[in-house]
Symmetry: C2
Subunit: 176 residues, 2 copies
């Protein structure tokens, strides 16, 4: 069992609404950590992570989308002014992948996150999409982030939503 | 990365609506095979599968629910008359697990499948629930099995739905 090709897992990441760039949102970190702890485990050569961050056009002012970052070095020559914002977010996750020893690719796209994530699934055909959500505990399941809900319905690959842990929920649960 | 405890994945399985017991439905086999090929891969010691089959009360006439089957031997002394029906379904998956070398537990419950699966998630706390669905391809995403849709909303663990492949869809796509 297990083909020779690694299992390709796309993880959609976003910035923190509390701390802003370059901090990753609580639910992004939850989705990433769950993928490593529960799925990849020690089998780092069996998996490849595709890290995607979608920037809403109004929020940014640069055009570093469509570049691919595959190692910490790829970020070193890129730091000037506002350009670091989304890139630092990717760097956080790419650095973690390199520490763990798992292959990854990370890239930025602009647009409506839920639609762009589904379009990138269609383009890159991952085996699984992992999306974090702010889901508010067992008795409030009605609320799930629109990105995760949209992707579960429309992404053309299996999707798993990782809900934020109750003990990580900020004072205002809309924050992340 | 990877705790010492194996990742526990619950797979909900059902009988074929075309062939009946003891045949597994197409979508059950798809969910099981996806779990092995894409998640477990060669890391069999890192995972444990929890195989659950929920029988609708009207459909059966025996009370072998709540037994746990963990090896092919457990089934040998059980064959008499109608009792084999659901048990043979579990045996199919338990045998596959033993061939692959992955630990498993399999059991039968009675009730409404979507509610019982969620209750069993609450009771056993798996790290991931995998549910097959008859999902009818990219342009018919609106239709997904009620079990998978209900579990995605209500199960208290991450859920992934594995849609049946287009080339495995029977003539009547409601069949499985």
């Amino acid at each position: 069992m297990g083909s020779s090709e690694p299992t390709r897992i796309m993880v959609a990441v976003s910035e923190s609404t509390i701390k802003g760039y370059p901090h990753a949102s609580i639910s992004s970190r939850g989705a990433f950590d769950w993928t490593i702890e529960k799925i990849v485990r020690s089998n780092t050569s069996g998996f490849k992570l595709l890290i995607i961050h979608v920037q809403v056009p109004d929020e940014d002012g640069f055009d570093d989308t469509n570049r691919i970052y595959a190692s910490p070095e790829d970020f070193r020559n890129m730091r000037h002014g506002d350009k670091v914002r989304g890139i630092c977010l990717l760097e956080y996750f790419v650095n973690k992948c390199h520490e763990i020893g798992i292959a990854c690719e990370a890239w930025i796209k602009k647009g409506d996150p839920k639609e762009v994530v589904c379009r990138e699934v269609q383009r890159t055909h991952p085996d699984l999409l992992v999306v974090g959500s702010r889901g508010l505990g067992p008795f409030q399941r009605v609320f799930v982030g629109t990105v995760s809900e949209f992707c579960m319905k429309h992404a053309e690959c299996p999707v798993v939503t990782i809900k934020r842990r109750a003990d990580e929920t900020p004072e205002d649960p809309v924050d992340d």
